[in-house]
Symmetry: C2
Subunit: 364 residues, 2 copies
């Protein structure tokens, strides 16, 4: 894969879709990435299978509440410092930069990081979507430790966390992030090329870019949602997908609490049938129910888009009266294993319902 | 100065007195230090003037709320890990261990740390008393940075904090400490022998030991409070001192909040005069007022002791009906400079009254 500056808008839009409501608004991230590319050049994008087994791979991401992340932005120096602190602690220099999640802002931050560091970027991530907590990645599921974990704020205060276990790491990093004002840069899960090949969700930068392209070309041809769905059906991971609901938002509740944006929204059908959909979220959308019937469950993706333009809408962008389509999408196979479901299935979010695939729930 | 295992009880009692209500109960610390001395031998105690200028000095302390610290104890491995993490980050091996505060538990933890590490202990600290927050030490007042700062919990989770400024370090370390359960081991203010000589409060281990001795010998001769005061009057720092009040506790309010034990207590005179004293605390006693008249103000020391035995009473040990004497004691000169008062004078604790020395307040 080769990235161009002109791809950034499609990539950002595709990543916003895969953000499933979270991951922050990639608009600012796109501007920052474009500026960094202008100054430092576009990073080379490398396929996971071309990364040597013993290569050192560092990730880069923003961590906080999306409601706050959109108000503050990575200044670049904070990204550099996160990588530097992790280098100092591990005694290793990164050979590659990789996204830890592909959704939202965090598809763009690694481009910024790679451009600034003059390093290649790996076409993979740890979930093929976005998730709110550090332990919720395939790497943790398969035994890679998130620590040492570096966290840096915009004033360049920093911490290196070394916790026994991923949930403890999440708790400590979250406590620091809250104190830092919930807009931080992190570099977690320092790993090897071998780890990326074995446990990464591959080619997700390409997928985000192509999703963005499908929406754009769909707008030109008049039906962006149809264009998006027909592209998704050709992909390796996201091929089970459906429009779950077509309606307007009649209620939206959200609060920033415990370091997250938590809430729900209600949607009423536009066809006069009186049907309603309720969607719960913790940074990302977790469960979508039509009346009493569950239509899609985490880790499968629930994506809200504008019903005319297919523009992805993040949880903080939800507004009363918005006319939306709710799209359900299958997650990558590695995200649906019993081990993965233990870490980021419905129960991990307090939802008392076993995971069932979108294809089984909707006879796809 | 040479420390013996048989000195530990006097030292712990003297340190509890200098803890001015805070610093945690040194009883557990004494047991731990005795056990470490039994296993690893008594550390050599070195006077600050005998420490080479370029020596690397690490501190060791527990940080949290005293109400929690007494329930959990340093297991030794956590102390070792705090020193190790700081070594890794600074690239320096400590030549000496030093208390950061002499009050309470934190007079004992450095003995434990030095014994386990096989390093000499410096006869000095950063305040000659106890204080609740990291920035409240002479070293910070005179420009030594608290960071990198290592913090470790009993499960050996750890963090290295690097903040721009001591107050930011306090805020971040406190956030981590709260997440860790408010009973943590820290190593902060890595410094040189030259720093200790210039800005330390010297010979405070000796002073704590002698205070404990004066209380013990006073008990044997029948008037421990008198014995204590007559010893204090011979010292370099604590020579202005007085019994401020003799009474029984009629009200005590305390809560563990924002990572501290905060509250106040009211005392009623035993002589039937109807006079009352009110004492405010944030881990340590901050201000003692007889009626409307301020008798002693932080950073001068306010110490509460049992009126018969002169046993120091920590804020968490205060009980309704206790018969106590409140003793005011002058702080070291370096603690009363305008620069020091900016950092830990009354205003730093939200007290709207300028610092006045105990000698001026009481015509001593």
């Amino acid at each position: 894969m080769k990235l161009q500056v002109t791809d950034m808008e499609d990539l950002a839009r595709g990543a916003a879709f895969l953000g499933t409501g979270g991951g922050g608004d990639p608009y600012i991230g796109r501007l920052l990435a474009q500026a960094a590319i202008g100054e430092f050049g576009m990073p080379e994008v490398v396929e996971p299978e071309d990364v040597p087994d013993d290569a050192t791979v560092f990730t880069a991401a923003m961590l906080g509440a999306p409601t706050v992340l959109i108000e503050k932005a990575a200044n670049g120096e904070d990204i550099d410092l996160a990588l530097k602190r992790l280098s100092q602690r591990t005694g290793k220099t990164p050979d590659y930069i990789m996204p830890i999640e592909i959704g939202g802002l965090n598809s763009m931050i690694p481009i910024l990081a790679a451009a600034r560091a003059g390093l290649p970027l790996i076409n993979a991530d740890g979930m093929g979507r976005a998730f709110p907590e550090i332990q919720m990645v395939t790497f943790n599921v398969y035994g890679i430790e998130p620590c040492p974990a570096a966290i840096v704020d915009e004033h360049l205060n920093s911490a290196i966390i070394e916790a026994n276990g991923a949930k403890q790491a999440e708790d400590l990093v979250r406590a620091v992030a809250i104190q830092m004002g919930l807009s931080t840069l992190v570099s977690v899960y320092p790993m090897t090329g071998k780890d990326v090949k074995a446990y990464g969700v591959h080619r997700t930068l390409t997928l985000a870019l192509e999703i963005g392209r499908a929406i754009r070309t769909g707008r030109e041809s008049g039906d962006p949602v149809a264009s998006l769905l027909s592209y998704l059906r050709t992909t390796e991971y996201y091929n089970k997908c459906a429009v779950l609901f077509d309606g307007k938002i009649t209620d939206i509740r959200r609060e920033t609490t415990r370091g997250f944006a938590i809430g729900h929204c209600d949607v009423e059908a536009l066809d006069g049938s009186g049907e309603t959909m309720n969607i719960l979220f913790q940074n990302e959308f977790l469960i979508a129910k039509k009346g009493d019937k569950t239509m899609t469950l985490v880790p499968d993706l629930i994506c809200v888009v504008d019903r005319e333009t297919a523009e992805p809408i993040t949880t903080e962008g939800l507004k009363y009266g918005q006319r939306i389509k709710v799209i359900g999408v299958s997650a990558a196979a590695i995200m649906r294993t019993p081990e993965s479901l233990d870490v980021f299935g419905p129960q991990a979010f307090g939802i008392d319902e076993p995971f069932t695939t979108i294809e089984d729930l909707n006879n796809l």
